[in-house]
Protein backbone atom coordinates (compact mmCIF):
# COMPACT_ATOMS: atom_id res chain seq x y z
CA UNK A 1 0.00 0.00 0.00
CA UNK A 2 2.82 2.37 0.90
CA UNK A 3 4.48 1.78 -2.43
CA UNK A 4 1.27 2.56 -4.22
CA UNK A 5 0.89 5.82 -2.30
CA UNK A 6 4.50 6.76 -3.10
CA UNK A 7 3.81 6.31 -6.77
CA UNK A 8 0.54 8.17 -6.54
CA UNK A 9 2.15 11.18 -4.87
CA UNK A 10 4.95 11.24 -7.44
CA UNK A 11 2.35 11.05 -10.20
CA UNK A 12 0.08 13.78 -8.85
CA UNK A 13 2.75 16.30 -7.85
CA UNK A 14 4.79 15.70 -11.02
CA UNK A 15 1.65 16.00 -13.12
CA UNK A 16 0.67 19.18 -11.30
CA UNK A 17 3.99 20.84 -12.20
CA UNK A 18 3.36 19.97 -15.83
CA UNK A 19 -0.19 21.30 -15.75
CA UNK A 20 1.00 24.65 -14.39
CA UNK A 21 3.46 24.86 -17.29
CA UNK A 22 0.73 23.89 -19.75
CA UNK A 23 -1.52 26.66 -18.46
CA UNK A 24 1.35 29.13 -18.81
CA UNK A 25 1.94 27.95 -22.39
CA UNK A 26 -1.69 28.24 -23.42
CA UNK A 27 -2.79 31.28 -21.45
CA UNK A 28 0.22 33.58 -21.56
CA UNK A 29 2.65 34.71 -24.21
CA UNK A 30 5.52 33.03 -22.34
CA UNK A 31 7.62 30.87 -24.65
CA UNK A 32 8.65 27.39 -23.45
CA UNK A 33 12.23 28.60 -22.98
CA UNK A 34 11.07 31.32 -20.61
CA UNK A 35 8.87 28.92 -18.69
CA UNK A 36 11.79 26.57 -18.14
CA UNK A 37 13.95 29.43 -16.87
CA UNK A 38 11.17 30.45 -14.49
CA UNK A 39 10.92 26.85 -13.28
CA UNK A 40 14.63 26.48 -12.56
CA UNK A 41 14.85 29.81 -10.76
CA UNK A 42 11.68 29.01 -8.82
CA UNK A 43 13.25 25.70 -7.80
CA UNK A 44 16.33 27.47 -6.45
CA UNK A 45 14.25 30.07 -4.67
CA UNK A 46 11.78 27.64 -3.11
CA UNK A 47 14.62 25.43 -1.92
CA UNK A 48 16.41 28.45 -0.48
CA UNK A 49 13.41 29.46 1.62
CA UNK A 50 12.91 25.88 2.70
CA UNK A 51 9.61 25.13 0.98
CA UNK A 52 10.83 22.62 -1.58
CA UNK A 53 12.56 20.13 0.71
CA UNK A 54 9.28 18.99 2.34
CA UNK A 55 7.76 18.61 -1.12
CA UNK A 56 10.64 16.36 -2.16
CA UNK A 57 10.18 14.28 1.01
CA UNK A 58 6.51 13.96 0.17
CA UNK A 59 6.57 13.34 -3.58
CA UNK A 60 10.16 12.27 -4.24
CA UNK A 61 10.62 12.06 -8.05
CA UNK A 62 7.36 13.99 -8.49
CA UNK A 63 9.34 16.99 -7.26
CA UNK A 64 12.86 16.13 -8.42
CA UNK A 65 12.18 15.13 -12.04
CA UNK A 66 10.48 18.40 -13.14
CA UNK A 67 12.91 21.23 -13.84
CA UNK A 68 12.16 22.82 -10.47
CA UNK A 69 13.99 19.74 -9.18
CA UNK A 70 17.01 20.84 -11.21
CA UNK A 71 16.90 24.11 -9.28
CA UNK A 72 16.47 22.11 -6.08
CA UNK A 73 19.62 20.10 -6.79
CA UNK A 74 21.55 23.27 -7.57
CA UNK A 75 20.45 25.04 -4.38
CA UNK A 76 21.03 21.98 -2.21
CA UNK A 77 24.45 21.41 -3.71
CA UNK A 78 25.38 25.03 -3.19
CA UNK A 79 24.30 25.00 0.44
CA UNK A 80 26.22 21.85 1.29
CA UNK A 81 29.31 23.11 -0.51
CA UNK A 82 29.16 26.47 1.30
CA UNK A 83 28.89 24.61 4.62
CA UNK A 84 32.05 22.69 3.80
CA UNK A 85 34.20 25.14 1.87
CA UNK A 86 32.82 28.57 2.60
CA UNK A 87 32.36 31.08 -0.19
CA UNK A 88 34.09 28.88 -2.76
CA UNK A 89 31.21 26.44 -2.38
CA UNK A 90 28.79 29.01 -3.77
CA UNK A 91 30.53 28.55 -7.11
CA UNK A 92 31.35 24.85 -7.05
CA UNK A 93 28.22 23.43 -5.47
CA UNK A 94 25.62 23.99 -8.17
CA UNK A 95 27.41 22.40 -11.09
CA UNK A 96 28.79 19.58 -8.96
CA UNK A 97 25.35 18.57 -7.80
CA UNK A 98 23.87 18.59 -11.29
CA UNK A 99 26.94 17.41 -13.18
CA UNK A 100 25.64 13.88 -13.72
CA UNK A 101 22.58 14.97 -15.66
CA UNK A 102 24.27 17.75 -17.60
CA UNK A 103 27.27 15.66 -18.58
CA UNK A 104 25.11 12.74 -19.64
CA UNK A 105 22.83 14.97 -21.71
CA UNK A 106 25.81 16.60 -23.44
CA UNK A 107 27.50 13.29 -24.22
CA UNK A 108 24.28 11.75 -25.46
CA UNK A 109 23.68 14.84 -27.59
CA UNK A 110 27.08 14.39 -29.15
CA UNK A 111 26.50 10.68 -29.71
CA UNK A 112 23.13 11.45 -31.25
CA UNK A 113 24.77 13.80 -33.73
CA UNK A 114 27.16 11.00 -34.67
CA UNK A 115 24.69 8.18 -35.12
CA UNK A 116 21.46 9.68 -36.39
CA UNK A 117 20.63 10.45 -39.96
CA UNK A 118 18.26 13.21 -40.96
CA UNK A 119 14.60 12.42 -40.75
CA UNK A 120 12.03 14.49 -42.50
CA UNK A 121 9.05 15.68 -40.48
Amino acid sequence: MDIFLNYLFAFVIGGAFCVIAQILIDKTKLTPARILVVYVCAGVFLTAIGVYEPLVKFASTGATVPLTGFGYSIANGVREAVDQKGLLGAFTGGLTATSGGIALAIVLGFIASLITSRKSK
Binding site: N6, Y7, A10, F11, V12, G14, C18, V19, I20, A21, Q22, I23, D26, K27, P32, A33, I35, L36, V37, V40, C41, G43, V44, F45, S60, T61, G62, T64, V65, P66, L67, F70, G71, A75, G77, V78, R79, A81, V82, D83, G86, L87, G89, A90, G94, T98, G100, G101, L104, A105, I106, L108, G109, F110, A112, S113, I115, T116, R118, K119
Partner: protein, 146 residues
Protein backbone atom coordinates in the same frame (compact mmCIF):
# COMPACT_ATOMS: atom_id res chain seq x y z
CA UNK B 1 -8.89 50.11 -37.67
CA UNK B 2 -5.82 51.08 -35.65
CA UNK B 3 -3.14 48.67 -34.43
CA UNK B 4 -4.56 48.31 -30.96
CA UNK B 5 -8.07 47.52 -32.15
CA UNK B 6 -6.72 45.11 -34.74
CA UNK B 7 -4.69 43.20 -32.19
CA UNK B 8 -7.71 42.99 -29.89
CA UNK B 9 -9.80 41.76 -32.79
CA UNK B 10 -7.36 39.04 -33.85
CA UNK B 11 -6.71 37.75 -30.36
CA UNK B 12 -10.45 37.64 -29.77
CA UNK B 13 -11.16 35.61 -32.89
CA UNK B 14 -8.09 33.34 -32.81
CA UNK B 15 -9.05 29.82 -31.92
CA UNK B 16 -7.75 29.07 -28.46
CA UNK B 17 -5.62 26.05 -27.72
CA UNK B 18 -7.81 23.31 -26.20
CA UNK B 19 -6.51 24.05 -22.72
CA UNK B 20 -8.53 21.43 -20.82
CA UNK B 21 -7.48 18.64 -23.13
CA UNK B 22 -3.87 19.86 -23.15
CA UNK B 23 -3.81 20.02 -19.36
CA UNK B 24 -5.20 16.50 -19.05
CA UNK B 25 -2.50 15.09 -21.33
CA UNK B 26 0.20 17.20 -19.64
CA UNK B 27 -0.93 15.84 -16.28
CA UNK B 28 -1.11 12.23 -17.38
CA UNK B 29 2.13 12.10 -19.36
CA UNK B 30 4.06 14.36 -16.97
CA UNK B 31 2.79 12.35 -14.01
CA UNK B 32 3.72 9.13 -15.77
CA UNK B 33 7.30 10.30 -16.40
CA UNK B 34 7.72 11.27 -12.73
CA UNK B 35 6.29 7.93 -11.61
CA UNK B 36 8.64 6.15 -13.96
CA UNK B 37 11.46 8.09 -12.29
CA UNK B 38 10.22 6.77 -8.97
CA UNK B 39 10.26 3.21 -10.27
CA UNK B 40 13.91 3.61 -11.30
CA UNK B 41 14.74 5.30 -8.00
CA UNK B 42 13.27 2.42 -6.01
CA UNK B 43 15.04 -0.09 -8.20
CA UNK B 44 18.43 1.57 -7.72
CA UNK B 45 17.90 1.78 -3.96
CA UNK B 46 16.89 -1.87 -3.98
CA UNK B 47 20.21 -2.70 -5.61
CA UNK B 48 22.00 -0.97 -2.75
CA UNK B 49 22.76 2.44 -4.24
CA UNK B 50 22.71 5.31 -1.81
CA UNK B 51 19.59 7.51 -1.91
CA UNK B 52 21.28 10.63 -3.31
CA UNK B 53 23.14 8.79 -6.08
CA UNK B 54 20.06 6.76 -6.86
CA UNK B 55 18.11 9.98 -7.34
CA UNK B 56 20.73 11.26 -9.80
CA UNK B 57 20.74 7.92 -11.58
CA UNK B 58 16.96 7.96 -11.89
CA UNK B 59 17.11 11.37 -13.59
CA UNK B 60 19.91 10.17 -15.81
CA UNK B 61 17.88 7.14 -16.84
CA UNK B 62 15.06 9.43 -17.90
CA UNK B 63 17.56 11.53 -19.84
CA UNK B 64 18.70 8.38 -21.59
CA UNK B 65 15.14 7.42 -22.51
CA UNK B 66 14.52 10.91 -23.90
CA UNK B 67 17.71 10.54 -25.94
CA UNK B 68 16.56 7.24 -27.43
CA UNK B 69 13.10 8.60 -28.25
CA UNK B 70 14.60 11.72 -29.82
CA UNK B 71 17.01 9.69 -31.95
CA UNK B 72 14.17 7.56 -33.26
CA UNK B 73 12.21 10.72 -34.04
CA UNK B 74 9.25 9.95 -31.80
CA UNK B 75 9.88 12.37 -28.93
CA UNK B 76 8.41 15.31 -30.82
CA UNK B 77 5.33 13.30 -31.66
CA UNK B 78 4.76 12.55 -27.99
CA UNK B 79 5.50 16.15 -27.05
CA UNK B 80 2.92 17.37 -29.57
CA UNK B 81 0.29 15.74 -27.38
CA UNK B 82 1.94 16.09 -23.99
CA UNK B 83 3.03 19.75 -24.19
CA UNK B 84 4.10 20.71 -20.67
CA UNK B 85 4.04 17.01 -19.77
CA UNK B 86 7.30 16.34 -21.60
CA UNK B 87 8.69 19.89 -21.47
CA UNK B 88 8.91 20.30 -17.71
CA UNK B 89 10.39 16.94 -16.64
CA UNK B 90 14.12 16.46 -17.21
CA UNK B 91 13.17 14.72 -20.48
CA UNK B 92 12.45 18.11 -22.07
CA UNK B 93 15.90 19.34 -21.10
CA UNK B 94 17.50 16.24 -22.63
CA UNK B 95 15.42 16.53 -25.79
CA UNK B 96 16.39 20.16 -26.29
CA UNK B 97 20.09 19.26 -26.14
CA UNK B 98 19.88 16.13 -28.28
CA UNK B 99 17.62 17.71 -30.91
CA UNK B 100 19.90 20.76 -31.22
CA UNK B 101 22.90 18.47 -31.66
CA UNK B 102 21.21 16.36 -34.35
CA UNK B 103 19.94 19.41 -36.17
CA UNK B 104 23.21 21.29 -36.36
CA UNK B 105 25.19 18.29 -37.57
CA UNK B 106 25.13 19.58 -41.15
CA UNK B 107 27.23 22.61 -40.13
CA UNK B 108 30.00 20.38 -38.77
CA UNK B 109 31.07 19.26 -35.32
CA UNK B 110 32.64 22.51 -34.13
CA UNK B 111 30.59 25.38 -35.52
CA UNK B 112 27.47 23.23 -35.79
CA UNK B 113 27.06 20.71 -33.00
CA UNK B 114 29.62 22.30 -30.71
CA UNK B 115 28.27 25.80 -30.89
CA UNK B 116 24.56 25.07 -31.13
CA UNK B 117 24.10 22.22 -28.66
CA UNK B 118 22.95 24.62 -25.92
CA UNK B 119 20.90 26.88 -28.17
CA UNK B 120 17.73 25.93 -26.28
CA UNK B 121 18.99 24.49 -23.00
CA UNK B 122 21.52 27.30 -22.48
CA UNK B 123 19.16 29.71 -20.70
CA UNK B 124 18.15 27.03 -18.19
CA UNK B 125 21.77 26.36 -17.25
CA UNK B 126 22.72 30.05 -17.21
CA UNK B 127 19.91 31.16 -14.93
CA UNK B 128 19.90 27.99 -12.84
CA UNK B 129 23.60 28.23 -12.04
CA UNK B 130 23.55 32.01 -11.61
CA UNK B 131 20.65 31.93 -9.19
CA UNK B 132 22.40 29.08 -7.36
CA UNK B 133 25.59 31.12 -6.99
CA UNK B 134 23.56 34.09 -5.82
CA UNK B 135 21.86 31.91 -3.24
CA UNK B 136 25.25 30.51 -2.13
CA UNK B 137 26.66 33.98 -1.55
CA UNK B 138 23.63 35.11 0.39
CA UNK B 139 23.64 31.88 2.39
CA UNK B 140 27.36 32.30 3.15
CA UNK B 141 26.87 35.75 4.63
CA UNK B 142 23.78 34.65 6.50
CA UNK B 143 25.82 31.96 8.28
CA UNK B 144 27.98 34.76 9.73
CA UNK B 145 24.98 36.52 11.18
CA UNK B 146 23.91 33.49 13.17
Amino acid sequence: MNKEDYNKYISMRAKKSPILKNCCFAFLIGGFICTLGRVFLDAYIYFGIEQKDASSLASMTLIFIAFVLTCFGVFDNIAKIAGGGTLVPITGFANSIVSSAIDSKSEGYICGVGAKIFSIAGPVILYGITSGVLYGIIYYFCTFLR
